[in-house]
Subunit: 272 residues, 2 copies
């Protein structure tokens, strides 16, 4: 399994991915799922992938070959818009999947891959898209400033409560690490090393692209601080006012729980 998340922020983009792949529990390996392309000084693209590893590698290989041996068709050096890059990736992905579809169907294996593509072409805004296995895509927006692929559910609640288009890139990187680390804790098919990259808009190079091993000191301190913070948040929760709760009253009776009380709050409808 895989978990990748990317943020679309005012200042730029944040990318994060785990590195665990598995074909059954007895074949767990480490592969980078973050691929950076800077085919010209006026553009930068980062691709994150989740799904069939063979499909992903073939897609990345074809993207690279199109740059080394340009054809009449588009490639990452010639596209004029980020969405054209998304469409280009979608076509390659579909082509690769089609080629192996019959053979894979016979084995009951899915050849699908889902991609995140973020980046910028000079003169345009930075952007972030998710490319579905079917080749179509959606873009992140100020209102929905993040996209996830792979095992995304465990890491979503923390993001939902914290994410904002105005977060700084460093805050975004912290949030992605928290989301990745929480996912890895709840699902062993997602795991370190984690890769995190941040891109400040209009720079056309990554600010940083770091790898955090399982026992990397910062990751340990982040994990510990988050754990402490979550437990503190729990200890600060208001006590359940059992009487008031069932009756929907403001009254906060913080006493002994009361006997079974299933009656819903008094509803004025229907009138008596």
């Amino acid at each position: 399994m895989t978990y990748c998340v990317a943020l679309y922020l005012e200042d730029g983009l944040v990318f994060a991915s785990d590195s665990r792949t598995n074909a059954g529990v007895d074949y767990v390996t480490t592969y980078s799922k973050m691929h950076t392309f800077t085919p010209a000084p006026d553009r930068l693209f980062v691709i994150l992938s989740a799904g069939n590893l063979a499909t992903t590698q073939e897609v990345i290989n074809h993207i690279s070959r199109d740059l080394e041996q340009p054809t009449a068709g588009p490639n990452l050096a010639t596209v004029n818009y980020l969405f054209e890059a998304a469409e280009y990736l979608g076509r390659i992905s579909q082509k690769v999947q089609r080629e192996h579809a019959n053979a894979l169907a016979g084995s009951g294996v899915s050849g699908e891959t889902t991609l995140l593509l973020g980046g910028q072409i000079a003169g345009q805004e930075h952007g972030l898209c998710m490319i579905y296995p079917q080749g179509n895509y959606i873009a992140a927006s100020r209102e929905t400033p993040y996209l996830q692929i792979g095992e995304s559910k465990y890491g979503k609640p923390a993001i939902d409560r914290i994410v904002d288009y105005k977060l700084s890139l460093d805050q975004g990187a912290q949030l992605c690490l928290v989301s990745l680390d929480g996912t890895a804790r709840s699902n062993i098919t997602v795991g370190p090393p984690f890769e995190v990259a941040t891109y400040h808009k209009n720079q056309f190079r990554l600010n940083c692209h770091c790898r955090f091993e399982e026992q990397q000191p910062y990751l340990l301190s982040l994990r510990s601080a988050w754990n402490t913070g979550i437990r503190q948040a729990f200890l600060n929760l208001p006590a359940i006012p059992w009487n008031g709760a069932a009756e929907g009253q403001q009254q906060q009776q913080q006493g002994v729980p009361v006997p079974l009380q299933t009656a819903p709050p008094e509803d004025p409808w229907p009138p008596k």
Copy 2:
């Protein structure tokens, strides 16, 4: 969709469930998924359900009928152990599913239901089981003091960080509400009203069984406190030391992010 969670604690049991069911986004309804049976003064059972609503209702109906019109077979009043109750529920669930299997398969609908069963029979410890759609079951333990059914992933990380066999029943109820409310925030097919019940061991009646509507004042204050706490935990995270992070060093350079740095930490193997 559905999300139910139950805790197996030293002091007793906590049960929590949402109340949203849906057959398509245009048929969203509210049903209680928590069913309490106290067929004799020496026993109490609580059943939570996730899955096909028709299957669940039929299972509950058959359990009730077996109590009202006992047959030669077991029922909740005659079983001698909690695990016998789990086996009994598993058999009913399988029978109901088999009866409709062919018709449902033709419609591409799953008739499966997964159940949580918690309770106690006098003279024995309290216990908690999950009954799979296949009719077999597993029990919670001191090391794994919780079980979830339905849309369980969103609400798992918070539980994983906080749950402990030694939590009080009230703390358990708070934790379940946090987990439910976070799930509802990330997935609209899970939603209030939430039901929460706590059972103190050896009492053979529920301490409380409350219903929390969407805008119930305590639920609002809990949601707000948890949100504030999570954001505070985020603000307290250590800053990312970009240099140190990539190099795996203890050194905490909390300065300007450094240029792209993908080199993994120096590994003494293979020897030079």
